[in-house]
Symmetry: C2
Subunit: 357 residues, 2 copies
């Protein structure tokens, strides 16, 4: 057991996007300084942090200096090169730890891990070549989704296979990368649990939120999700199992499909999660502060929900709706990105739809 | 009427203490960058801002560069040298404007202004010398409080006069500075209204909070304050009158004594205020974001209260109670100050005592 970090300690954050930005703000609330590691200048998190190491993930000298300057290291994205993690970990603890990264960086390893925990998942099979793919389609059927095992996000690195004769075209889009075929799940809804585990092993979960995606990107999350009490506790317990099995420290996003046959875990993200942004205006302690508390060795905070909330992402040109969105019952959260691109997450709003029900 | 500031614009903040820190965080939520002007290195606001101009308020070149680098200027304290304001204002708008500073930087001018608005105040008289003081005591009586007209805060620059024969000693502590004698008010409670006025003249007030001071420093603020409906609306209307009379833009703290004879305005602070910190966990939009919205020309946000809250300052060694304070219903806000000194504001907590009543 490690002592809790004291005021004035510095938290290192790998990745300087909006998640790093909001983590940095949460860290400041608890009196911590932050140091952002990101190759990009003027990245969103750098606007609200003490230090910004602007260097590549292959820059060993920069990584070493970063590691020496901070008291604990966390991250806002999971695809950090292993070589960088090795180097960083030699000097400073990384939380969440390496185990979850090994699991979640690879969709196949992740699905296998979830199955080992006795959790339901979509049917899946490894696909390295045409032969694998043909066998996988025979086993799983179509429609199915072919995904690269690594480095996919927001629908990138994915190809839908509606019938076996479309297999070749889908495989080509993988560009030779190791892949996984996942059976399409007919879910009635997708929910996510934002779960936290402290350094002392205690667990706290925010209420599950219900997600709507558009064009492969999260569009909205609504709390409360339309779940039965049994589904709600199943979702929370499944999430707690995952965190415990990994000796996880920090906040994790667990995406779950609700199907007539039960809950299936879609994927886990070892970090704060877009579908947890509603907590900023629905809870006393939000997901960002909960994550900082966990990795700092503090007791987890009170994440109970006091409001019904609908979080909606502001994508690309949605930004032009600001500030007229700024009316009653609505909180705006912008990421300080000035270049508007289609599909780019520019901010989000949290609309309070009533007291907690 | 000016267009609202767009994402990516930079807000300049004079003063880098905890108020500047929390203003900077609020600005980031709306996508703004911030630039802090403060002579002190490693000041609390610099931890969460893009830029920190570390220079004296007499440094004309630094002031000019600051003014050119930002789109609007605001401040976290009222005693900014007039020469600095003159120089800054030549290039960039200062909000709240100069008029309120002229009024609030001088206790005598402030009291006279409040009286002109038809608002009740403690009895007061200007004191420049022994003769003035003797006359003032005769008129106002004792107990009374002798205060420097300028540069006082947290009980500094004040001397209580319990009987006429203590007048000489009190006057000595003023060290020749122009002063004001204020009659002691027997108030049943002290409340404050955190009021905001937008660039379009619209006004929004947070619910009045009830303040307890210890050793001249704010100890706690509780919402709701124990006021009758009539007292509540009188307090809010008095505050709105003050903001309108000054063509004010931004958030102001209005301290009000509740007495058997009615409400008396104690003092106004042309900035976010310690007694408004409860809004961070009691409202969708807190005082810091409300201030940023106002000075950025945005519509004011929804500051309605969803919880009963008790805010308590963490002074000096109170910091050692963290993180064990981090339990149920309690949010912690620390300022990133590492040197603990008696009387120094190190942070505050907001304890949720129930849903809004």
């Amino acid at each position: 057991m490690t002592d809790p970090l004291q005021t004035g300690a510095t938290i290192g954050i790998l990745g300087g996007g909006q998640l790093g930005r909001m983590l940095s703000v949460a860290a400041s609330r608890l009196g911590f300084k932050t140091c952002i590691y990101d190759p990009a200048g003027d990245c969103p998190a750098s606007h609200v942090s003490n230090y910004h190491v602007k260097a590549a993930y292959e820059d060993e000298a920069a990584l070493r200096a970063f590691s020496e300057a901070v008291d604990v290291i966390t991250y806002e994205f999971e695809n950090i090169p292993t070589s960088a993690l090795d180097l960083l970990e030699a000097g400073t603890p990384i939380r969440p730890g390496r185990r979850v990264l090994a699991v979640s960086q690879d969709r196949l390893t992740e699905k296998a891990f979830l199955s080992e925990q006795g959790l339901g998942t979509a049917p899946f099979a490894a696909v390295d070549d045409e032969v694998d793919l043909a066998e996988a389609i025979e086993e799983i059927g179509t429609p199915a989704i072919l995904k690269t095992r690594r480095f996919g996000y927001d629908g990138k690195g994915q190809a839908r296979i509606t019938s076996p004769d479309r297999a070749g075209a889908a495989l080509e889009t993988m560009a030779g990368a190791p892949a996984i075929l996942e059976g399409q799940v007919d879910f009635t809804r997708e929910v996510s649990v934002i779960a936290a585990r402290g350094l002392d092993g205690s667990i706290a979960c925010f209420d599950p939120g219900e997600n709507i995606h558009r064009d492969g990107i999260l569009h909205s999350t609504t709390v409360p999700a339309a779940l039965s009490p049994a589904q709600r506790s199943d979702a929370v317990l499944a999430s707690a199992n995952i965190l415990n099995a990994l000796h996880y420290v920090g906040v994790m996003g667990v995406e779950i499909f609700v199907t007539p046959q039960g809950l299936l875990v879609n994927e886990i993200a070892p970090r704060v999660h877009n579908s947890g942004h509603w907590t900023q205006n629905g809870c006393l302690i939000d997901q960002f502060e909960q994550h900082i508390r966990a990795i700092a060795g503090w007791p987890l905070g009170d994440g109970s929900r006091h409001a019904n909330v609908m979080m909606e992402n502001l994508i690309g040109a949605d930004l032009s709706r600001v500030p007229d969105l700024a009316g009653t019952n609505t909180a705006i959260h912008l990421y300080g990105k000035t270049a508007i691109k289609p599909g780019r997450k520019m901010g989000h709003i949290n609309r309070i739809t009533g007291p907690a029900s």
